[in-house]
């Protein structure tokens, strides 16, 4: 009985059914060797994927003089002293430490706003019937094709006229607007799968649209909302182009500050490696904290 009950849940998660163990010894050996080959393939790709990041991490922990003298891989043959010196000197640089704060002040509101506004719109498109709904939704999704380059010049002009050009707010506003079509697209598809009976029941109980949204749709839409939040967080945190244009030097995020450093000091790798690694830590932590929701949100939202 227990197996029957848990079957649908696991079926939804597990992909191809595992090949049944064949009894023959030869076949079993063959099966094991393909398993070995697969693992070998995965391992080789993994090495290729891991080495650059590892090299970066190791280099960021070495003294500038050591980096000049030998490649980072030499620590495996001649263990050298590792130090946090690069990081302390990097964060002592006021331009860098402020840019970390700016990155946070840009990314957090830009992510929250897209999630809230996008989820509200997605709910309306999925569950409220009104004239023009399908046309408006099609237009919104169609706007996914508009490249960022189209908007940069007109919005620069707009921000200048309103007087917010150069501010953190201008970067946030741009990211929110450009994140909305994808947000609405992803969430609407997910919300549309919520069983209609649930909503009907709540409506019969006299719940208004806003109440339906906060009490029924939001709690059920967890995975899709999590995956949207991750997408948006990564886009905004990792963006350079938008910030390069709209943010002045006191509002510049980490990506822009890093670029400035490289332009000014060339490739002095002690600053670069620690700075690059610093820019990666927060998104990595955020991603892996929500990884599970991200994947199940993708399954349900983007691909249907």
């Amino acid at each position: 009985m227990t197996t029957l009950q848990s079957a649908p849940a696991t079926a939804a998660l597990s992909p191809a059914p595992p090949a049944r163990r064949s009894p023959g010894l030869l076949k079993r050996l063959a099966g094991r060797s393909t398993g070995g080959l697969v693992r070998l393939g995965l391992l080789i790709i993994a090495l290729f994927w891991m080495v650059p990041t590892l090299g970066l991490l190791v280099s960021s922990l070495r003294k500038p003089l050591d980096i000049q003298a030998s490649g980072w891989w030499s620590i495996f043959t001649a263990p050298a002293s590792l130090t946090l010196h690069n990081y302390t000197s990097l964060l002592a640089n006021p331009a860098i430490s402020r840019s970390v704060a700016n990155s946070i002040m840009i990314t957090v509101p830009a992510t929250l706003l897209v999630v809230i506004i996008g989820a509200l719109a997605a709910y309306i498109f999925a569950w409220v019937e009104f004239p023009g709904r399908d046309v408006v939704f099609l237009i919104v999704v169609g706007l996914l094709v508009v490249p960022i380059q189209v908007a940069l010049i007109p919005v620069t002009d707009l921000f200048a006229k309103v007087g917010i050009f150069g501010s953190i707010a201008s970067v946030v506003l741009f990211h929110v607007a450009f994140g909305l079509p994808f947000a609405i697209f992803l969430l609407r598809n997910f919300f549309a799968q919520i069983p209609q009976e649930l909503l009907e029941a709540a409506r019969l109980d006299g719940a208004g649209e806003l109440r339906l949204f906060t009490r029924v749709v939001l709690p059920l839409g967890g995975p899709a909302i999590a995956s949207l939040a991750i997408f948006q967080f990564l886009w905004v945190w990792n963006d350079m182009l938008v910030a390069l244009i709209f943010a002045n030097s006191s509002a510049a995020p980490l990506t822009v500050a890093l670029t400035e450093q490289t332009r000014q000091f060339g490739t002095n790798i002690d600053v670069l490696s620690s700075g690059a690694f610093l820019s990666m830590i927060i998104p990595l932590v955020v991603f892996f904290a929500f990884q599970r929701q991200f994947v199940s949100g993708l399954t349900a939202g983007a691909l249907k």
Partner: protein
């Protein structure tokens, strides 16, 4: 039968709740398309008032070899990146889908580059490609000038782009694979179909919606590639990696020729719309399997 008044009130509520989205999208996506069209017919340096010049910007960019080069470089970049990352991403997804112990670890590992800022990765790879101090030349034992060679610069940037996207693409394919009903594989196995046949006739057709999504969004973003190029080559050597996004940035925010930049942005938009519509048509004929 719902009364007209209820319906009218529902419509009002719907549009009220949609207002923040529609205002944002209208102001930053829809309006700019029209403003850029208008600007592309004018000459403007961001400071003095703009003047109407008719179609001159379009004539200029059409006859400018640097613009032609930029579009060619961007198309070439896309042609290098998209097929490789799609096939590799599918391959990795199929391997991960075998659910061997450690799959979760590998999946996490492959996604790392996608999570990191393209700018930071570009900086890292620039350092690894370095002709004298770089790890790549240290391994092969030759002094190859990867990023300053006219033939190698674009493929090098494209390789980094593929490297950073494969994990992301495979995540989507994994999600797609998990939606393929298991009984189809079971049926194929009972019929004695080989693994290759099962892949071609079951897996691949059922992955079409995923493939469509990956290709459409991948091509749109690869036509806008900027950060990786900016960090690794800044468009050089001699324009060999001068992708269209860099070119527009240069025209608009370095040279302050905004009319020309607007005309280029319009051209990019037109290209992207055409490519996307073409894919839509191509896939619409082929997406015949609906998952219940």
């Amino acid at each position: 039968m719902i009364s007209l008044r209820v319906r009218r009130r529902e419509t009002a509520v719907a549009y009220t709740l949609l207002t923040p989205s529609l205002v944002g999208i209208g102001l930053f996506l829809v309006l700019p398309v029209f403003v850029v069209l208008w600007l592309s017919l004018r000459q403007w340096d961001l400071v003095s008032p703009s003047t109407f010049v008719g179609l001159r910007n379009y004539r200029d960019i059409l006859s400018d070899p640097a613009v032609g080069n930029s579009f060619a470089v961007t198309a070439l970049f896309t042609a290098m990146v998209i097929p490789v990352q799609t096939v590799l991403g599918l391959g990795v997804a199929l391997l991960l889908n075998r659910r061997l112990p450690g799959s979760a670890f590998f999946r996490a590992l492959y996604i790392v580059p996608w999570i990191c800022a393209p700018l930071a990765l570009g900086v890292v790879w620039k350092w690894m490609f370095d002709p004298t101090d770089g790890v790549l030349n240290a391994i092969i034992g030759h002094r190859i000038t990867w990023l300053s060679s006219e033939n190698l610069a674009l493929p090098s940037v494209a390789a980094v782009s593929v490297w950073s996207q494969v994990g992301y693409v495979s995540l989507f394919f994994l999600a797609g694979l998990s939606a393929v009903p298991g009984h189809l594989y079971e049926a194929a196995r009972i019929d004695g179909a080989s693994a290759v046949r099962t892949f071609w006739h079951i897996t691949l057709p059922l992955l079409r919606p995923t493939t469509f999504f990956i290709l459409v969004t991948g091509i749109i973003s690869s036509f806008q590639v900027f950060d990786t190029v900016y960090a690794m080559t800044s468009g050089g050597p001699a324009g060999h990696t001068d992708v269209i996004a860099s070119h527009i940035y240069q025209e608009a925010f370095v040279d302050f020729r905004l009319g020309r930049a607007a005309a280029l942005a319009v051209a990019l938009l037109v290209v992207l719309v055409m490519v996307t519509v073409a894919q839509q048509l191509w896939f619409r004929r082929r997406i015949t399997y609906e998952l219940g």
